[in-house]
Symmetry: C2
Subunit: 330 residues, 2 copies
DNA sequence: TTGTATGCGTTATCAA
DNA sequence: TTGATAACGCATACAA
């Protein structure tokens, strides 16, 4: 049987209230008793029971990460950042994948009693976000925002990143620049498309609805979509893909068609996932601070938990183009 | 304020004991009262408090995943499998990264009260494993085994996978086959090296200590190690890397040296991570059931939790060579 | 500064 | 089949 606070109290010759106090530092204890308690704790190897503690103290010291695709390189890196920061802050991290948008609703009731707050990543409908706000569950949005609600959010500055990437292609005189987006309904995908369109418009560059396609953020999706682009009567000379996985898939499709990257078609991605620097040709891409997003999400959430009244913060993390070989400009 | 079991009892006109019973199905309740309780639960939107439940019931319904590198493609995929299976079994999943081997010891005491069991992945010293056994914490080992203890483990059948890969290279007459291992002290790395050596020995194939190097399972590590291999007076004609990330790094190094894959040097990896099929040249690699490992780990752990007395199971999941372009045999 | 006593929301034991 | 009631292990208001 694990030692309880009573065992510690007895051994130290004090009451359990005193033990609790020195362990939580809630109020002063005489140095002597403090020492006695600490020693008893050490000797017994006592660890407070988390359930009892949260039952009495109304805090779980636990956060939840709720994501659509846990295992993509992008989310994996976010998880890493969140986990490290959470641990440093003495918090624990629960993880949930929600392949289906609707599943989040099922999850919430089960979850809500086990966590102090949650980090919501990727897509999920506004109705769900609203219900969270209504239930006063502390949470932050990662990778998306929501209009009209007081919710903290962290996003990459996609607009500027994409604008820079497309402008880079224009500056190197690539005409016929195609765009492969993610899920059509994703707000982030929308922003990136807007940036793409604006970049073209601002330079009076040729634009064509046929050069814009939407996929699903996967390598296979990028491959298939690029293949469709190549089959066009007027195929593109450059492709911007809204994430690196699709870009890598696109490169594969281009080569499979017997063409070369970047000589025949240039490719630019988005994210700068770890493998981007190692594929061939090395991927030119828009770097964003993935790991840092995870860290920041935890910090913002902890702030909100500590003081639910603080005004929401909206962070747009900087992005910048990393020029490698796949765009043919170096 | 969230409704408690008392609110439900009052609304249904029964005692809290009855509410608890119908919710847990522990013993029979009259259909009528059962209905009344369920209705009250629905109307109130009642959800049992997890802390109270585990305090009274001695179960947390939570598992922990303890890994060295959360964000590698390999572990990310394991997490995905474990998360899906855990959720299906109504369990929650905590996640912890332990970059330093020693950190596991610090983690355990904090962890132990919050989970019913844990899944240990990657490296951690035997002393730690022993202490877990001593403390009767239910756990399973993922990706490694431990000698002399009654612990369930799940591993890929690395030996046969590597043997098949190296034999494949031999069959295609590649002489001078190099081996890039992971951390020298990793048991898995050792097994893979043994398979490599045996494959060569069984065919009386040239072997050379200089062709064996150890790295760290990362792309950068694979790159650096391959570069050292290329600088040898007698550089290898083929490289087997103990995971795909190192293989991808190695390909990059080979190209950086002005050589071609597979024409000048063939490369084979291990794992078959999702991106392996999309890099160039597409990576020939030993596929193992990563996702399935995660699922199986949860199942074995749950068995062990349900009955700590069951004998440990050791699973060696099948592997097989997936021939793509990087080995030059197709 | 320290101790007593109560409550947190369940499950489980025992009677009824 | 149901209902009191005692744990479960801790935090904390209140007393001393």
């Amino acid at each position: 049987m694990r030692p309880t606070i009573y065992d510690v109290a007895e051994r130290a010759g004090v009451s359990i209230a005193t033990v609790s106090r020195v362990l939580n530092g809630s109020s002063k204890a005489a140095p002597a008793t403090r020492e006695a308690v600490l020693q008893a704790v050490a000797e017994l190897g006592y660890r407070p029971n988390a359930a009892a503690r949260s039952l009495a103290g109304h805090a779980t010291d636990t956060l939840a990460l709720v994501f659509p695709e846990i295992s993509s390189p992008f989310f994996a890196e976010i998880i890493r950042g969140a986990e490290i920061e959470a641990r440093q802050q003495q918090y624990h991290l629960l993880i949930y994948g929600i392949p289906e948008v609707g599943e989040a609703d099922t999850l919430l009731p089960v979850l809500s009693t086990r966590v102090d707050g949650l980090i919501l990543g990727g897509h999920c409908d506004d109705a769900f976000v609203r219900s969270l706000v209504r239930q006063a569950v502390p949470f932050v949005l990662l990778g998306r925002g929501v209009e009209g609600y007081a919710v903290s959010s962290i996003q990459a500055d996609s607009y500027n990143g994409v604008y820079e990437a497309v402008t880079h292609l224009i500056d190197h005189s690539y005409r016929r620049i195609a765009f492969i987006g993610g899920h059509v309904d994703s707000p982030q995908s929308r922003v990136r498309f807007d940036a793409y369109r604006s970049a073209l418009a601002d330079r009076d560059w040729p634009a064509e609805p046929g050069w814009v396609m939407h996929s699903d953020f996967s390598e296979a999706g990028g491959h298939a979509t690029a293949a469709r682009l190549l089959a066009l009567p007027q195929p593109p000379r450059a492709i911007f893909a809204a994430n690196d996985q699709m870009a890598i898939g696109a490169i594969d499709a281009i080569r499979a068609a017997g063409l070369r990257v970047p000589e025949d078609i240039a490719v630019v991605g988005f994210d700068d996932i770890p493998v981007a620097a190692y594929v061939h040709p090395a991927l030119t891409t828009v770097r964003r601070q993935i790991y840092e997003s995870g860290v920041l999400a935890v910090r913002l959430l902890l702030h909100r938990i500590a003081d639910p009244e603080i005004p929401p913060e909206h962070h747009a993390l900087p992005t910048h183009l990393v020029v490698r070989r796949s765009c043919g400009c170096m």
